[in-house]
Point group: C2
Chain length 106, copies 2
């Protein structure tokens, strides 16, 4: 699926949902980091925090791929992880929603 399958309205809604999910996930990550830092008691735990952030960055960089060929998979993943709801994607065409829904059940 490439970008000719996406209407202007869908593209705008997709970008908005994508950015919203990213913002939510990062805010949650910042909160998690804040708690981890607050609970550091052993000196090597600061490097555990660094390892945690390295892993999260790798995971998040890989997951948030805004290309129209990947977006159906990206959205299904974000739904599964709770960063988006199906309601927030309602503006997408019925066939795209069906694909996304089907993928979330896999």
């Amino acid at each position: 699926m490439n970008d000719v399958n996406w209407s202007k309205k869908e593209k705008e809604a997709a970008r908005e949902a994508f950015d919203k999910a990213y913002k939510r996930e990062i805010e949650s990550l910042v909160e998690e980091v804040r708690q981890k830092v607050a609970n550091i008691s052993e000196i090597d735990e600061v490097w555990q925090l660094h390892d945690f952030l390295s892993a999260k960055r790798h995971e998040i960089d890989g997951k948030y791929d805004y290309s129209y060929s990947a977006l159906i998979f990206v959205f299904s993943q974000l739904l599964k992880e709770g960063w988006l709801t199906l309601d927030e994607l309602q503006v997408l065409e019925r066939d795209k929603l069906a694909k996304i829904s089907a993928l979330t059940r896999m």
Copy 2:
């Protein structure tokens, strides 16, 4: 300079001073990280924090080299940066202290 130049008493004092400096620097780093996390307002700042930790880890890993051939340089660096005081190294032999002191002025 290798380990035959270090008496048992000097080795013990050196290890203690080295560990003390490391602990101080890490505690200061944790405090700095805590402040940075508290002040995150833009979503990309969490990756700036990760970059900061990567750089610090690289710097600290490189600096804390506990080998007797490096220790004179390591201590002079730690003195320059304020993680140790000359008083805390007084148990070392006079010639080692003189070398360390001279290096701090370079």
